[in-house]
């Protein structure tokens, strides 16, 4: 494919708590492509995704993406327990200026029947589906997903995979950290295990304390 990538990551090193944990991360994602990040617990998947989402600065290297192109979904769904499913979603749709996307998102994640329920009375899997519906209302091309399938049953994983495929088919891209097979055969896989940061003495990027004040 010759088109410019939606997001490219060049020789990225990331740190958590001032300690470098990944280095030399290098990939590019163009429209219609998905990349699955794998690696054992604690290898830095979440930190890498938070860095790409712009929540923390990289230790080294850089991330090239169009401004306002990334939609990030963390472990937590960011739901308000006392608001209804629709109110939760409408809030995010208003923040992203996409009020018309609420109803299709509810339908896509099979939340229509729950629309008027308060988020606190949802099951864990239903909450997760609402969290994923939030991605659909952002209208952003690059999805950065941290363990999107946690607490989803097989049917909901299929629902999510369908939503993901539809997103890719309309020119989106996705970066997904996950431990399970989400049934997305066309996705490339990046194993983070070999990219574990070396100790500064061995030539790795040092994560100084001052990093917090940079």
């Amino acid at each position: 494919m010759t088109m410019a990538p939606l997001i490219s990551v060049v020789d990225l090193a990331v740190a958590r708590g001032g300690v470098a944990i990944l280095e030399g991360v290098h990939f590019a994602l163009s429209a219609g492509r998905a990349l699955v990040l794998r690696g054992p617990n604690g290898c830095g998947k979440t930190t890498l995704l938070r860095t790409i989402a712009g929540l923390q600065p990289p230790l080294a290297g850089h991330i090239e993406a169009m401004p306002d192109s990334i939609a990030y979904a963390s472990h937590a769904d960011g739901l308000k327990a006392t608001l209804s499913v629709t109110e939760n979603l409408r809030f995010w749709a208003a923040i992203y200026g996409q009020p018309k996307r609420v109803d299709p998102a509810l339908a896509a994640m099979n939340l229509d029947a729950l629309a008027a329920r308060a988020a606190m009375s949802l099951s864990a899997g239903q909450k997760r589906r609402l969290g994923l519906a939030r991605l659909l209302v952002t209208g952003r091309p690059v999805w950065v997903l941290d363990e999107p399938t946690v607490s989803l049953d097989a049917a909901s994983v299929a629902l999510f995979a369908a939503a993901l495929r539809a997103h890719l088919a309309t020119g989106g891209a996705a970066l997904i950290a996950t431990h399970i097979d989400i049934g997305l055969d066309e996705a490339a896989v990046l194993d983070l295990t070999p990219l574990k940061a070396r100790a500064p003495a061995a030539g790795g990027a040092g994560g100084g304390f001052d990093e917090a004040f940079a």
């Binding site: 938070r50 989402a53 712009g54 929540l55 923390q56 600065p57 306002d68 990334i70 939609a71 990030y72 979904a73 963390s74 472990h75 937590a76 769904d77 960011g78 739901l79 308000k80 327990a81 006392t82 608001l83 109110e87 409408r90 809030f91 995010w92 208003a94 923040i95 992203y96 200026g97 939030r134 917090a212 004040f213």
Partner: protein, 218 residues
């Protein structure tokens, strides 16, 4: 931005939102002080401006840690930080929502509570003016303190200690304004100081608070 304000207001009035907590606390203070001090009107009238301001200030302090902590715990703050609204606007909207749910009810209820403290007649106007001018500064400074302590579990103690000294100027000029209003002497100086403090706080502090949140989210 308006969506964020509406959401925060809606959350505040829903179950467990904490709306009314500050007002109830303010009521308790103003009801209990006459019992503690004694019912002589002269003493009460003299200390009323200070009591009303200290009560309002503590009532405001009570709900500060909710400004960002709840959003931090359920992950919304991360998501808001990656959303297309600047963090400075988020802080301003959250402080405004805090003021509308705690400061404004205090301003409106204060004249009623002033009766309990034998506040002299001419002082009521200045009570409302001083609280209306001063409480926005309390909310914005509180948002700054909440932003500094957002990542901490049980950060309420640290938050109170950080914010209290910042509240002192507002308290001094706010109470002075009511006191002078009650005596009928010139109120221009405390009025201008109070308004100036609030204007400067509202204009500058959101930037500091936004920077504090960005660092705490790393």
């Amino acid at each position: 931005m308006i969506a964020l304000l509406v959401r925060d207001l809606r959350l505040a009035v829903r179950a467990g939102g904490g709306f009314g907590l500050s007002l109830a606390f303010f009521l308790i203070v103003t009801v209990l002080v006459p019992f503690g001090v004694g019912p002589e009107g002269g003493t009460l009238a003299r200390i009323a401006p200070g009591i009303l301001w200290v009560g309002a200030l503590l009532a405001c302090l009570l709900s500060l840690d909710r400004i960002f902590a709840l959003d931090f715990e359920d992950g919304s703050l991360d998501l808001i930080a990656t959303a297309p609204i600047p963090m400075e606007a988020v802080v301003t909207m959250k402080a405004l929502a805090h003021w509308l749910t705690t400061g404004l009810p205090l301003v409106l209820a204060a004249p009623v509570f002033g009766v309990l403290l034998h506040l002299p007649g001419p002082a009521y106007f200045w009570l409302v003016v001083s609280l209306a001018l001063g409480t926005p500064a309390l909310s914005v400074l509180g948002a700054f303190g909440a932003a500094l302590t957002v990542g901490l579990k049980r950060g309420g103690l640290l938050l109170s200690l950080l914010v209290l000294p910042l509240y002192v100027p507002t308290l001094i000029f706010g109470a002075e304004l009511i006191g002078r209003g009650a005596e009928g002497s010139s109120t221009a100086t405390p009025l201008m100081m109070l308004a100036g403090i609030t204007a400067a706080t509202v204009a500058l502090v959101p930037f500091a608070a936004a920077a504090a949140i960005r660092i705490n989210l790393r």
